[in-house]
Amino acid sequence: MTTFPERLKALHSTPERIAVTLQFSNADDLPITMDQLIRGASSYAIALTKAGIQPGEVVVLILQHGEALLYAFWGAILHGAIPSIMPFLTEKLSPERYRADLSALISVTQPAAIITYPEFEAEVRSALKEGDSVRDVVVTDKVEARSEIDFDSLSGFQRKPDDIVLLQHSSGTTGLQKGVALSHQAVFNQLNAYGKTLSLNESDVIVSWLPLYHDMGLIAGFLMPILSGVHLVLMSPFDWVRAPYKLMQSVSKYRGTLSWLPNFAYNFCAQKIRDRHLEGVDLSSWRGIINCSEPVRWESHHAFYEKFKSFGLKPESLQASYAMAENVFGVTQSQLGSTPTVLELDREAFMVERVAKSPTNGHPSMKMMSSGRPLANVEVKVLDESGNEVAERVIGELALRSDCMLTGYYHRDDLTQKVFRDGWYLTGDYGFVANGEVFVSGRKKDMIIVGGKNVYPQDLESLTYEVSGVHAGRSVAFGMFDEEQGTEDVVIIAEVDSTDPAEQQKVADAIRLHVTKNSAIALRYVKVVDPKWILKTSSGKTARAANKEKFLTELQNGQN
C-alpha cells in the first residue's frame, strides 16, 4: 500500500537519473532528472499551499506540452490535491465553446484552482462565475522555483492509498461532465499488473506523443514510466501529427522499447512518412508498439510492418491491448514477443447469429485481431442482453471486475451506479472470448471513436441544431469505419425545409464550420437532405444505426 508522493520520494534515491526527456519542434531535447522533476513539482505544491488550496481539492491544469505541465501535475500530487488535465484551446476550437466546456467542467467537478499560463489567464477567468468553486487561478510565471526539497512539509504525504489521486475526462461537453476518479491504490494495482505483463523494467524507454488528457497518454505514456522509474521520452501530439516520422527518429535516438498508439496512427505512419525522414533510423529496440483505444485492425499492423520492416522493425513488436479509463487503463494485453492472434471468421455467422466461428467452405470470411488475455488482476466475462454469461465465441457485452476500478465518476453517483451490476463494470463494448483471449467487436453505445478520441454523437447533433435552417431533432451523427485511415469518419446528416441544392450546400458548409469550431472534430461527410429523410423510432427518437444503414446504401449507389 503506497501513495504517489511516497513513490516519488522513493524514486528520489537516484536523483540524477533522467526521468523524462521532453522533445520540442523548435528547441533541443530537454532531459529532466528525478531531482529536477521533484524540485519543479515542489514549487507548484508550495504555490498551491500559498493559494490556500486544501489537500483533496481538485486542481484543473490548462497547460500545453512542456515543463510547466509536468511540474504542475506532480506539484498538485505532492500537495495532495487532485489534478485533472483539461485540453488546451487550439485554433480549431472556438473560444466561446471552450469557455462553455470549461464552465461545464467546473460546475460538476468543483475545482478549487486552475493552473494556466499568464497569457491564458484572462480566457480562464472569463469562464468563471461569481460564487463558483474556483478560488484562485495560479499562473505559471508566479510560481517561484525552489532550490531545496522538504518532503516533510508537503501535505501530499498525508494522503491515504484509497484517496482519490486524479481525475480523467473524455472529450466534449458530455465527456467533460464525467470525470473518472481513481485512487492511488487503483493506479498502483494497475501498474503492478500491467508492468508484469509487459515485463517492464528499468532498461525500458517509453516513447510517447499521446496527449495527457487521455487515459492512454496519461497512464501508459506518463504515470507508468515516471512511477516505475522508466525513462519517458515525450513529445507533443501537435508536433507528431505534423511530423509523424519524429516518433521513429526518437525511438531510434533513445533506443525506445515501448510505445502506445491508437489504431489510426499505424495507418497514418505507414502512409504519410517519407523515406527521406527515415535515413539512418533503427527501430530494432522497439519491443512493444501497443495498439489500443480504438478497435484494433490487423490490416493496420500489416501496413505498419511493411512500411518499417527495412528499418529493423520486428513483426512481434506489434501488439494489442483493450483498455479503458474506468479500469485505470489496461484490461487485456497480447503476449509480448509473439504476434497477436488473428482469427478468420464466418462473416454471416458473425453478423447474423452473433457467433465467432470458422468460415464454412466458400462462405465470405473476415479477420479479427485479438486484444490478448486479461491482466492478472482483471476478470472479463461476456453477457447477453439479460445479463447472463454466454459461452466462448458468442458475442455479447464485455463486463469486467478488478482491483483497479474507478472510485466513481466524480460527483456523479447517478452515473456510477448505472455502470455496475453485481460488482461487475459494464463496458458498453461488444466482443467475445476465444481460448481465453478477448476480441472486441463493437460498441453498444453510439459513441464514435475518431483517431482514438471518444466522441458522443449527441454532442455533435446538438451543435448541428444551432445552425440556421436545421430544426431540433432533425439531425443524426454517427461514425463510419474508413479502411484507409484505420479509424472512423464522422458523418452528419441534417434535414432542411428547402429542397434547393444550392441552399442545401450552404447549410452543409455552415454545419461543417460550426460543428468543427465547437467540437474540434473534423467532419468527413456532411449531408443535407430533404424533409423526412431521417428515420425515427416509433417513440420519435433518432435511430442512428438505421440512418447509418440508409446513408451507406446511398453512398454505395453513388447518390452522395
Partner: protein, 80 residues
C-alpha cells in the same frame, strides 16, 4: 499559377471534404476555419510535394504559412 488553384480545389473537395462538387473560393479560410484538420493537412502537404515538386516542411503546416488557396498557390510558385 493558373493550373495550381483548380488542381488544389479538386484534391481538397474530393479527397479531404469528400464533396467533389464543393466549390472552394480562392480566399476561403481552410485551416483557421477548421475545414482542413491537422490529419488532412498532412495529406495536402504530400499532394503538393508529389504534384508540384515543392516541399512544405512540417513546422510550416499551420494557418500562418497559408490559410487559403491564393496563399498556398503563391507559396508553391515561389518554391518552384
Amino acid at each position: 499559377m493558373t493550373e495550381t488553384v483548380p488542381s488544389l480545389t479538386t484534391f481538397i473537395a474530393a479527397k479531404i471534404l469528400k464533396q467533389p462538387n464543393r466549390a472552394i473560393t480562392a480566399d476561403e479560410s481552410l485551416i483557421s476555419s477548421g475545414l482542413i484538420d491537422s490529419f488532412s493537412l498532412m495529406d495536402l502537404a504530400l499532394y503538393v510535394e508529389d504534384t508540384f515538386g515543392v516541399r512544405i516542411e512540417d513546422t510550416e503546416l499551420n494557418a500562418d504559412t497559408f490559410d487559403n488557396l491564393t496563399q498556398l498557390a503563391s507559396l508553391i510558385e515561389s518554391r518552384k
